[in-house]
């Protein structure tokens, strides 16, 4: 490529040469920008995993409770039943701990917790209300809900992909799992363990809250770029 070098002091021979230099210059700048963005990662986002299922259930006050009621809010879901003696007890403790730390997250949208009971036969509204009060649930932040067995199976098993099955002794086999869902109803994080790192859950609430607050106007494109380059937390 020796021919591309112009001798010092000689003017460009033609405008064609200038266009090529500009072209390569711009290309180099763009490439440098892309490399900088994907390595320095100025913005961290959570991946858009898949759409969370819609649901039409009733809550611990016996009132209608749907996925639409949670639009625009950041929600942590988990699943249990009030007669649980297995790992699901620990997952409820995790939810209680998260509730106590929600105020530390700087957010302009409401942050919510939702627990689904997989045992609608025994867990009516009164039972869920009593159990949630025992756990220290604040009814305006932490919702409890249940519904018909068929719908629960399609929402929890089909939608969230969490397996549960009733055993002969009336207990359930239930995989421990938590899901963080954004205001558009997209699952952004899942924690499939009975003892997730609560610091990480709080961090993820913070990332989603920051995305809502900062991805406006031109910054929307910066956030899209962060998704494109998989700038996920490590």
């Amino acid at each position: 490529m020796a021919a591309t070098v112009t001798k010092a002091g000689t003017p460009y021979k033609s405008s064609g040469m200038l266009i090529w230099r500009l072209f390569f210059g711009l290309f180099g700048l763009m490439a440098a920008g892309v490399i900088w963005f994907s390595t320095a990662r100025p913005i961290t986002v959570l991946p858009r995993i898949t759409l969370a299922p819609g649901f039409y259930l009733s809550d611990q006050n016996g009132e209608r409770f749907t996925s639409e009621d949670l639009r625009g809010q950041i929600v942590l879901y988990n699943f249990t039943y009030t007669n649980c003696t297995d790992p699901c007890v620990a997952t409820s403790q995790v939810m209680a701990e998260v509730q106590s730390r929600l105020l530390t997250v700087d957010a302009s949208v409401p942050l919510k917790l939702v627990t689904f009971s997989i045992d609608p036969d025994r867990d009516d509204a009164a039972q869920m209300a009593a159990y949630s009060t025992e756990l220290g649930a604040d009814g305006s932040v932490w919702h409890w809900a249940t519904g018909g067995a068929k719908q629960l199976k399609s929402v929890i098993g089909g939608g969230f992909g969490v397996f549960y099955d009733v055993r002969e002794d009336g207990r359930f086999k239930l995989d421990p799992a938590f899901f963080l869902v954004d205001g558009s109803g997209v699952i952004r994080a899942e924690y499939r363990t009975e003892e997730p790192d609560i610091d990480i859950i709080m961090r993820d609430f913070g990332l989603l809250a920051a995305e809502v607050d900062h991805s406006e106007g031109i910054y929307r494109f910066a956030y899209e770029a962060a998704h494109l380059f998989s700038c996920y937390p490590r």
Partner: protein, 162 residues
Amino acid sequence: MIHVDPRERNFIIGTTILLLIFGTAVLVSSFAFGFQVPAPVERLDPKLVATPGQSPWGDPVEERVRELAPNKYEVYILAQAWNFQPREIRVPVGSTVTFMVTSKDVQHGFRLDGTNVNMMVLPGEVAKLTATFDEAGTYNFVCHEYCGVGHHTMYGQLIVEP
């Protein structure tokens, strides 16, 4: 126009065309044909993976085919020298099945005939892919990473029932 030696220019053009062909092939295969690249979704301890209570692979074999919802299944398959557990899987026609495969010893493979499920199975990692079965029949799966003297006995069947 910059002067470039003709032979050099031919190479530049040739490599650019190759790059475009391969780039297009990647995009077409992923979007038009729906190829998925199996990614490790989870890491676990291969020594503990088959221990009851430690993971779904520790559950009894007959509980490893799980119905998440009508026509939606997940199967936890443990690959070991030299078999798959479970080695026979039954699902109804129209089912979407997610295969979660891990190894408790050495490197194995998991290839399900008639689908695009084709994964390398490494100890300590979970290989995950999903396939939908709209036609009844028997689909064979084999280990296609050489894993020792019993390698040829590592196979099983997925039976899609009408």
